[in-house]
């Protein structure tokens, strides 16, 4: 028991603290916060705000990965849903817009889930199909243009604030709590972990593994569609060409940094979101640093490797530190 508990999450928190500290060094005003037009303003808020799409994606992705799957289509789904929201925004009320966008995300998730759970395709190719076609669908909706809108309701989703907290952050937090409540409050979490840990055994124990797989892809689609709506609301337009481009990799990275294995099984929602924040803290730090952009990818590579090494079972800093303590006990 002592073996597992204290280690979970410590590596991630440590990584976040170190990166925050580095950010503080490159940008002395990093922790400054003030209120601007009734909305908190500062680099920290930027980190949270910009981290929102990946955080939302990672909420869905972590469940998919827990079942031993992977969803490459989330970026494309973001684009589709953003496009739908933007094209409806000026002619319909927010509820309709949201329902349409989330509904589209749900359908995308169903499609992926159908391919994986019912047709038995390998998740990476199954979702590759929507990754390719989905961006096309999004562009079809916008006809390749950037569809702008001015509906204040939708704009509020991107730029508004609730008690000073930017709306996207509030939504991400809300989704984290909602997902957590659904997954851990019901038996879903256990059954998903069992499915990912050993699908055959779970099936024989009476777990509806197909339903589980379908459910996680659907949820992943819904999370992606929210991320897409927020991304569109943020720039007051749907950029089907670029919205969510390559974000699937960031989301997967966030999940893995959050300690969930790509081979399925145990997962942690909070740590996945923490992973997304680690990535964004690094990105914001890179932007603040003033280094030429040619260095961005190199920095990213080094940081990612460092964070992962910190968690490596073989090199875990904590295992190293705690081993002597443990041995000292009689």
């Amino acid at each position: 028991m002592t073996m597992l508990l204290p280690r979970r999450g410590l590596a991630q928190i440590l990584a976040l603290i170190v990166i925050l500290a580095v950010d503080r060094v490159v940008s002395p005003q990093f922790f400054d916060l003030r209120l601007q037009d009734g909305r908190l303003f500062g680099s920290l808020i930027d980190v949270l705000n910009r981290g929102t799409p990946v955080a939302l994606l990672s909420l869905g992705m972590v469940l998919v990965i827990a079942t031993r799957g992977i969803d490459l289509s989330v970026g494309a789904v973001m684009a589709i849903c953003g496009a739908i929201a933007a094209s409806l925004a000026d002619s319909h009320g927010l509820p309709v817009v949201l329902a349409a966008a989330l509904g589209a995300g749900l359908v995308c998730g169903l499609w992926n889930g159908f391919l994986v759970a019912v047709l038995g395709m390998q998740p990476i190719v199954a979702t590759l199909i929507l990754m390719v076609a989905g961006r096309g669908i999004a562009q079809l909706i916008t006809e390749g243009r950037i569809v702008t809108f001015s509906s204040p309701d939708l704009v509020w989703l991107g730029n508004g604030a609730i008690l000073g907290v930017p709306v996207p952050i509030a939504i991400a937090l809300g989704m984290l709590i909602l997902t957590g409540a659904v997954v851990r409050g019901s038996a879903l979490g256990l059954l998903i972990e069992a499915t990912g840990g050993n699908a055959r055994a779970s099936e024989l124990a009476g777990v509806g593994t197909r339903a589980m797989i379908l459910a996680v892809y659907v949820w992943c689609g819904v999370c992606a569609s929210l991320a897409g709506v927020i991304a569109a609301a943020d720039i007051m337009g749907a950029d089907a060409n670029n919205a969510g481009l390559w974000l699937e990799l960031d989301a997967i990275l966030a999940v893995v940094i959050g300690g969930t294995s790509l081979f399925g099984g145990r997962f942690s929602l909070v740590l996945a979101v923490l992973g997304a924040l680690i990535i964004q803290t690094m990105n914001t730090g890179i932007l603040l640093s003033g280094y030429p952009p040619e260095f961005n990818l190199l920095v990213k590579a080094v940081v990612v490797l460092a964070v992962l090494l910190l968690q490596s079972p073989k090199l875990s800093g904590f295992a190293g530190i705690m081993a002597p303590l443990r041995r000292a006990k009689p």
Binding site: I129, V132, A133, G136, I137, Q139, V256, F295, V304
Partner: protein
Amino acid sequence: MKGLPPVLITAIVLVVGFGLCAMQFPNIASTRVVGNLLTDNAFVGIVATGMTFVIISGGIDLSVGSVIGFTTVFVALAIERWGVPPLVAFVAILVLSAAFGAAMGAVIHVFDLPPFIVTLAGMFLARGASFLLSTESVPITAPVYSTVSDFALRMPGGGRLSAIAIIMLVILIGGILLLRLTRFGANVYALGGGRATASLMGVAVGKMTIKIYMLSSLLAGTAGIVFSFYTSAGYSLSAVGVELDSIAAVVIGGTLLTGGQGSVIGTFLGVLIQGMIQTYINFDGTLSSWWTKIATGILLFAFIALQQGLVALARRPVATRAGAAS
């Protein structure tokens, strides 16, 4: 063993698809188009050969596209700016990329990290390094390049079997032999069957991991050289997304991403299927950017669904036959 082997099914899918395309655009059924198919997909074919080894061993290599990009820039700069003879530049980059792959393999093994993420970091690293070398595209004017890109075996009907297509075919055959006939190949399958088990059976898992990623990166480097022949230039943004293309080719070719099963021939068929989808869309020529993407997705789905359907069909009759016997 039971019914048709998956590779044969993939081949059937390819032939049927080709036939359908040729019915709509008779021009497709020409040696010229076939030659183009081989030339245009040479670098994907080479990379996918390496990727097949990695995936069969239960891993994945996302860095290959970036390694191609880095290679083209490195080769271009070495030849054009640093005055290195082309052959020396090739050897240098092959050594460099092999070392890069070995390093990734070592990290994966020693620190027990998921290949997906380690090679993702490798992808950032190689791409970032190529930006540092040069963000501009650098044309290569060395005479070898025009010699090689002009070289082609004429096929009947005006088709050209270019040098790079030949390189790809040679590597492909080498890959098939390496995987099928050598101890190394058997160990690749063993790793895919289960790392822990393979290790208990006496396979040097660490060394194998390093060698497999080394092979993949080495072939990515080779593909980079081929790409530089293809375009006579080095450019830091070249071959973005090729890792996904090659993974898709490998998987369409019947290799399981979970490892342990698959073949290089299947991968080659997968590359051709993807190339054919592209050719078909180009011949059609009426598709907008978005319809191109949607059509690619639909065709991808159709091929995979057809393949899975055929595999399922191929399995079924055996069960009933056995049933009839009992």
